[in-house]
């Protein structure tokens, strides 16, 4: 099938998925216990006040009616107004999104570097103590969830040996009058590397906490498929040609071994993004995840909906990127 057709079908199915997510989240936040109006009532409010507030936020109508009104707005780029922050949801979400994207991307890069390096090292020294050691380390990284890693890192590098900042996204005294919310990228573009360093120091621990479990998964899976690939005929043939073991691993085996890892990394990356919710909270990192917790605590229905939709869009985008990369790396698909 031709690539454009495949892309269009993908786009269509993505739209349906997102609509489904919208319906579900909209309904769920309205049927679970907890009332946004009750949270914002001043002491001594009258029933009339409640009715007035409900009408103000459109909560007096039936759920299907509410959905139609909300969805109509969404189609026009209006995601409603946050009940707790009293600002348009879209602006709030887009304002926080870059912080989370930078954090998640940094974590992904760390996971790929750590996982990739550990897999390559283990395969290069397979059958030795080094491989065993890496297996043990991977097992440990995998059995501890990201937020626990966050706590451990805070204890070690924040409290015992205070190397890194444990709170926030940037030191308060370092205000650069950023023009975008992509602080890291902007600081690099503006050549303010002091700011970049400060941002990285803040990002390091939350990103590492998010990265470690994924690094272990990447490390184990890539090692396994590399080891299998190393036994294949074409690798054996390459070995007779006089290439070094390292070159055989990198040039002959890696590219063919990487596809299953790539697919799994895509799926796991969406879990990692989910992990930002708690980890951002833990490190008071001002991203979307942190905002999501506040939104839930305050029963801020429009904001919850906006954030969930935003996460759903990220997830589908990640899957799309994985599919495209897969096709680009696999000559059989590229020419199909």
């Amino acid at each position: 099938m031709d690539l454009l057709a495949r892309f269009l079908i993908r786009l269509f199915s993505t739209a349906i998925t997102l609509f489904g997510v919208a319906v579900i989240v909209f309904t769920v936040v309205r049927v679970v216990p907890g009332n946004p109006i009750a949270m914002m009532l001043p002491p001594g409010a009258t029933p009339a006040d409640i009715v007035r507030l409900k009408a103000l936020y459109g909560l007096d109508k039936s759920i299907p009616q509410q959905f139609v009104i909300w969805f109509w707005g969404v189609l026009h780029g209006d995601f409603g107004t946050s009940i707790s922050l009293r600002q348009p949801v879209l602006g709030l979400v887009l304002g926080r999104l870059p912080a989370t994207l930078e954090l998640a991307t940094m974590a992904l890069v760390m996971a790929i570097l750590i996982g990739g390096a550990s897999a390559l090292t283990a395969v290069r020294f397979r059958g030795t103590q080094i491989e065993t050691g890496i297996d043990v380390a991977n097992g440990a990284a995998l059995s501890i969830p990201d937020f626990l890693w966050g706590l451990l890192l805070i204890i070690f590098f924040g409290v015992l040996i205070p190397l890194f900042s444990i709170s926030g996204r940037i030191s308060p005294d370092l205000q650069l009058n950023f023009e975008t919310q992509f602080y890291l990228i902007e600081s690099i573009v503006r050549l303010r590397f002091d700011v970049t360093a400060n941002l990285l120091a803040h990002m390091f621990m939350p990103a590492l906490a998010l990265a470690l479990p994924l690094a272990a998964i990447i490390g184990q899976l890539l090692k396994q498929s590399l080891k299998e690939t190393m036994e294949l005929d074409y690798v054996t043939l390459a070995r007779t040609k006089g290439y070094s073991e390292t070159r055989v691993i990198l040039r002959e085996a890696l590219r063919n071994a990487i596809l299953p890892t790539l697919t799994l990394t895509g799926v796991q990356f969406t879990f990692l993004i989910g992990g930002t919710v708690i980890v951002e909270r833990l490190f008071s990192y001002e991203g979307l995840g942190n905002m999501a917790i506040d939104a839930v605590v305050n029963r801020d229905l429009p904001l919850i909906q906006g954030i969930v939709i935003c996460f759903a869009v990220i997830f589908t985008a990640v899957n799309l990127v994985v599919d495209l990369t897969y096709a680009a790396l696999n000559p059989r698909l590229r020419h199909a």
Binding site: Y234, L237, R239, T240, K241, G242, Y243, S244, P331
Partner: protein, 290 residues
């Protein structure tokens, strides 16, 4: 004159397990074509793997020497051994469908070793590859160089692997049943190409096969293998006149026209098998005592 390849008393065993090769000795001079025959599991491929330094991780050399141009490669440090083997020897593998890297184009799979190991200029290596592809009767070599393996037929891929094996002008090529994975119609062509290349380049060839018919056409000398033991080491002309071992004679009798299209089964009578197995067992007992 020192032999190109001299295997002396080579035993290969599974780690803490039985021997797969039992004190094999075998000599190959420059330009010589030697057949290596034996039934499935006899250890033919294992000999080639030992020479090329690609024994499976589960197996190890437990005794003996492998002299390539007079140097025992088993005593060399790994990196040097790899380089030496790569310079002197090359492999034509059994299954062309799995022996090419699916994610690299054909061109680099032939030229990379010339550039990276022998230090040739890329243009020179590419010119050489085009020349070799033409030599193995590939009609559009420039296009094939840009193809991926999956775009080519098995016969084409085997020609490419043959061209690639000859690329660095090795003194020794080990061909491990290079036609068994191919259609019968293609087998003859491939065999002719290998024989022709061998004659033109003067390369010594260790030809692993089931097929005594092929041996009679291509080889000068012959080693018969059973259960990792060399039963007979002889000239082809002598072998077909008067095989020197009862097992060899049975092989020959079992393939009257020297053709074995299936190439896998060589029925040998039970008495002969029992005798040869007894010989192998005796050799094992003696080996354990030393």
């Amino acid at each position: 004159m020192t032999a190109l390849l001299e295997i002396e008393n080579l035993s290969v065993a599974l780690k803490n397990g039985p021997r797969l090769l039992r004190s094999v000795s075998l000599r190959l001079d420059r330009g010589e074509v030697r057949g290596l025959v034996g039934e499935s599991g006899a250890g033919k491929s294992m000999i080639g793997k030992a020479v090329l330094g690609i024994l499976p991780r589960s197996a190890e050399v437990v005794e003996g020497r492998i002299l390539l141009e007079g140097t025992d490669i088993l005593t060399l440090p790994p990196a040097e051994r790899r380089r030496r083997i790569g310079r002197i020897a090359a492999l034509i593998p059994q299954d062309p469908l799995t022996a090419l890297n699916p994610s690299h184009r054909i061109g680099p799979q032939i030229t990379d070793r010339l550039v990276d190991i022998l230090g040739w200029k890329r243009e020179k290596a590419e010119a050489r590859a085009l020349e070799l592809l033409a030599e193995v009767n590939i009609s559009a070599p420039a296009r094939v160089m840009r193809n991926y393996p999956h775009e080519l037929s098995g016969g084409m891929r085997q020609r490419i692997l043959i061209a690639s094996a000859f690329a660095a002008e090795p003194a020794l090529i080990i061909a491990d049943e290079p036609t068994t994975a191919l259609d019968v119609t293609v087998q003859k062509q491939i065999l002719k190409i290998i024989a022709g290349m061998q004659a033109r380049h003067g390369t010594a060839l260790l030809f692993v096969t089931h097929d005594l018919g092929v041996v009679s056409k291509v080889c000068q000398s012959l080693s018969v293998l059973y259960a990792g033991k060399v039963l007979e080491d002889t000239q082809v002309a002598d072998f077909f006149r008067a095989p020197g071992h009862a097992y060899s004679a049975a092989l020959l009798a079992a393939t009257p026209k020297y053709t074995d299209p299936e190439g896998s089964l060589m029925p040998v009578g039970p008495e002969v098998l029992a005798a040869v197995q007894a010989e192998v067992d005796a050799a094992d007992r003696e080996w354990r005592h030393v």
